[in-house]
Symmetry: C2
Subunit: 195 residues, 2 copies
Amino acid sequence: MSEVMRRLVALLRRLPGVGEKTAHRLSIFLLTSPPEYGRELARALQEAVERVRPCAVCGNLSESTPCELCADPRRDRSLLCVVERVPDLMAIEASHEFGGLYHVLHGVLDPLKGVGPAELNIEPLFSRLSGEVREVILALSASVEGETTALYLRQRLQDRGVRVSRIASGIPVGGELEYVDRGTIGRALSGRREM
Amino acid sequence: MSEVMRRLVALLRRLPGVGEKTAHRLSIFLLTSPPEYGRELARALQEAVERVRPCAVCGNLSESTPCELCADPRRDRSLLCVVERVPDLMAIEASHEFGGLYHVLHGVLDPLKGVGPAELNIEPLFSRLSGEVREVILALSASVEGETTALYLRQRLQDRGVRVSRIASGIPVGGELEYVDRGTIGRALSGRREM
């Protein structure tokens, strides 16, 4: 295998869920497809990397800061919904059950893996709490790490006198928010309880 | 989601085994990782697409035509091993049981999916049969399509007076050659039988 192919395989291996075999298959698919496809994908990736960044306000991926959601005057600025990752935000948006703003942590607290508050988008959350914000909704996964993160955030948010709630029933224990159906997400949002 | 992200997701979806959800996850991983990673991957892909091509002689992926294997004077030019795809060639090379040359079909005959001889790298195989080639070894998967392809090739190769064999025992029925262990591939090569 040539050096340039080996490098491609090594970089593909760093993608989530892609092992040695899959990286080989992907690179061979890319190199035996019409070259326009590989060129187009490389160009789209480069362009996305240069233009799409986490919003400096909420952490959502966008071509602008503040992002489209943060800049939308129709959103309810008294409600902040905290999610782990961008796909969670997309899943909640797709449920059409929430009209407030978001805050993306880009992960959960996981001390065993060395993920503390400093590794997440947490401090910028506290600096958003001045004035308008009335309630912070924690829409985190029902996993051990999600629970840990929720408890940590509740403590720190209540110290600042803000109301904290957590999305309710419907999320299967141990399940990942991203994979829950829209209806369940809607019920979980409307059934949230104060912490 | 911005237009540039939507395009990236659409292109990622065309990769084998990547659906809507996975394409989203991959693109979000790429755009929340340090931008150097995405840049490097885009550059490696672009470079590979421009420099790595199927060898005009055997169909193996290489930066040169003829490829390193076709150009290697130590390889036995009287033996041609026919494989479906490049990973199969790699798997056989890793078994260190074969010192001849290869021919990559880039697929198997599959009439139901509209894949006939013209869609595969088959005609160039026949133009390689002049003089030196003594035996063609069919190292195809033990699937229905692999069998169909083997029977078709046997007919056409025997018409040209060349000896045709097929790799033997060890390949589990319905199994994909790429995933067979090296020892089994070695046994299958040495135990091949004339068709």
